[in-house]
């Protein structure tokens, strides 16, 4: 056991003596849930013969596109431990070569095929680095991150939202035919759980109260929503399928607050819109009918390490022909990306990064004071504690990129010394 394990969760000694929280495993999952599909890159980011390195839940992974197929392999050369993606080197379609001494691994099995500098080396054929299951769907490269022995990997659809059935005009699913999928991803400086919990939080609308999209669409958005009946929060437990929970805003199960009399504040906007949020393992959000009816927003909060997550904001809409695709593209470029993915979601990113210090250094998981609408958050934590496929063990160190050059620093130091 390493030291990261010993402090996971923090606080008093646990064990069976003090009643553990029902969501204890969630508190252990600072590095994320393993044995799950996470988005790694947009397919368009992987141009031919280029190796891209990503870090998901502490797993350093090199991705390479060959003849339309993406391969995922451990991004650490067995020899001297450098990340191969730092200087991509590929000499054949079925291998990846480390830029340092030329250790060359098979993309399919990770076995050392040759060493550029030592072609008769006895290590050849004996040494192996691990590979990862990978699937590219709807323009997104997904990697199954976790234990190599967790095989076969469950289908990708088990780690995506459910198909919506209780809606007269259900939003499209990412894996449907004839969908238009666009989005962005960016690094956010907070633990991934703060990302997930911010996404479906029924009480956080204050940060969106004066956002551009609300004003521009004259959207009647409440100040908050309180679950008031048993069916307000639906547990999703599909056999061999998605697990998660849904805020049932379509039922009369929530009370929406449109004003707060104590401080004389009212919700803006006049036009009613319907949207609904749900959250799924291993940690992704679906917002139905957002930014406009008929569209769906997917958000992933893929853990990088225990302090940062890759925030994926993806819009999914229907487009069956070129004209509809052009219209979808127009909407995305001129409306969705600037107003929804950037302006609106920037406020969520601000909130998550603002929570980081409290949850990382000030015992936030024990010291937080949750209120009535946080029932949704508690249910998510319990659902996540039950349905995860494993807690990612901490990595020894957080991934850092090496400095490209130190010359500038040296020169500066000399100048200072001379002065």
């Amino acid at each position: 056991m390493n030291s990261g394990d010993r402090t996971a969760g923090g606080g008093a000694p646990r064990g069976s003596i003090a009643p553990s929280r029902q969501y204890q495993p969630y508190l252990e999952a600072a590095w994320g849930f393993k044995n799950a599909w996470y988005p790694a890159l947009f397919g368009a980011e992987l141009s031919k013969n280029v190796v891209a390195g990503v870090t998901i839940a502490g797993h350093e992974i090199a991705l390479r596109l060959v003849k339309g197929r993406v391969h995922a392999i451990r991004d650490r050369c067995a020899h001297r431990g450098v990340r191969m993606s730092l200087r991509p080197r590929c000499f054949a379609d079925d291998t990846i070569t480390c830029w340092y001494h030329g250790f060359t691994y098979g993309l399919d099995d990770g076995v050392l095929k040759t060493i550029v500098a030592s072609p008769e080396d006895p290590l050849i054929g004996k040494v192996r680095i691990r590979t990862y299951p990978v699937e590219e769907r709807a323009g997104i490269v997904f990697v199954f991150v976790g234990d190599e022995e967790y095989a076969p990997a469950p289908p990708l659809a088990a780690d995506l939202p459910i198909r919506i059935a209780d809606d007269a005009n259900p939003v499209a699913h990412l894996l449907d035919e004839n969908v238009h999928v666009r989005g962005v991803h960016r690094r956010v400086e907070s633990n991934w759980r703060l990302g997930v919990e911010n996404g479906f939080d029924p009480g956080h609308l204050l940060i969106h109260w004066d956002n551009q999209i609300v004003a521009a669409t004259d959207r009647r958005m409440g100040l908050g929503a309180l679950p008031i009946s048993e069916d307000a929060i639906k547990i999703i437990d599909e056999p061999n399928g998605p697990k998660g929970m849904m805020n049932m805003y379509n039922l009369r199960a929530y009370k929406f607050y449109m004003e707060n009399a104590v401080i004389g504040m009212k919700a803006r906007g006049k036009k009613p819109y319907y949207a609904r949020t749900s959250v799924f393992l291993p940690g992704l959000l679906l917002v139905e009918h957002w930014p406009i009816p008929g569209w769906a927003q997917y958000e992933w909060y893929a853990p990088i390490d225990d302090r940062r997550h890759e925030y994926w904001e993806v819009l999914v809409g229907r487009a069956a022909n070129d004209a509809e695709r052009r219209e979808a593209e127009y909407l995305y470029e001129t409306f969705f990306e600037p107003l929804a993915l950037k302006d609106f979601n920037d406020n969520d990113v601000f909130a998550r990064e603002a929570m980081r210090d409290f949850y990382e250094s000030r015992g936030g998981w024990d010291a937080e004071t949750l209120c009535a609408f946080d029932e949704a958050t508690i249910v998510w934590r319990k659902v996540a504690a039950r349905f995860n496929r494993g807690i990612q063990e901490p990595s020894a160190r957080r991934a850092e990129r090496p400095r490209a050059s130190r010359w500038r620093r040296t020169a500066t130091a000399r100048t200072r010394a001379a002065a």
Binding site: M1, S3, D5, R6, A8, A12, P13, R14, G15, S16, I17, A18, P19, S20, R21, Q22, Y23, Q24, P25, E28, N35, D121, P122, L123, K126, D147, E149, Y150, I233, I235, L370, D374, E375, I378, V379, K382, V383, A385, R386, F387, R389, G390, I391
Partner: protein, 323 residues
Amino acid sequence: MAADGDSADARGGVSVTLRFEDGAERRIVVAPGQFVLDAALAQGVPLIHQCRSGNCSTCVATLIEGESATAPGRPVALLASEAAAGRRLLCVSYAHAPSVIREHYPATPIDAAAAPRRFSATLGALARPNPKVAIFTLAVADETFAFASGQYVRIRIPHTDEWRSYSMASAAHELPAMTFIVKLIAGGAMSEYLLRAARPGDRLEIEGPRGAFVLRRSRGQHVFVAGGTGLAPILSMLDAIRRRPGMRPPMLPSFGCSRDAEFFARDEIELRRWWMPELRAILSAGRSDGADDGLRRGNPVDALDAARSTRPAPPPICAARPR
């Protein structure tokens, strides 16, 4: 001890004595064409090694007597002068005659499991779920302490020379904290200490870990049977399964107490049912004190047989109250 020729086995292997830095010796038989390291590993002597191809020099050792040579034509990471001085890379070296080979490290670390160490521990919380059971936690400061679920430690009762053995009820991922479940016995040394003297922060000496009753890996259903405080190693194993790599197997613990008034750890078992959909639990009591407690009647083995045909509903989520 000198190498002797009389222990060559029927396949024509030769006897090799491995002499460790601390004086410990292990005798192995190395067959023709077999590397010394491979023979040692196969015969349960876990020599330190890494590349197994003559490159890394991790397995370097010194030939004291006899004859051992590197496989012909194999370039190895040894200088000619080192080879002349008797250095051998055991991963690529044969033994051609009975030999003595000196390892440059003690046997103690590789025998650690057989040689328990003593540690200082601090008493954390102490609880009594019922008059006959105490549960307490200890924190071990030493980061080198490790154990496998199912193992136990000996605990010295403070201010005495009495030692008692208890299985850990928590798993290694909760270290430095460990949980113990103790059956309270009137007049028992540990019971008297826990009931009368114990205070959080007390220093206790522990020795271990000990025991070979540990989990073996398999994908089939894991059935556990425990009565009373015998639940401790089972809880530890269930927690270890939750955190170990790979897919979880189906688990079926059957836990019973002699009377339902003495039943304990219901919350602990319910939590684990929640955390692991693969876990079914069978709870039983030998005798009823009249309450409708949902426990099966009989001992845990009988209850296991009776319960195997039924499939209980999943536990409730209890969403209404935070935490």
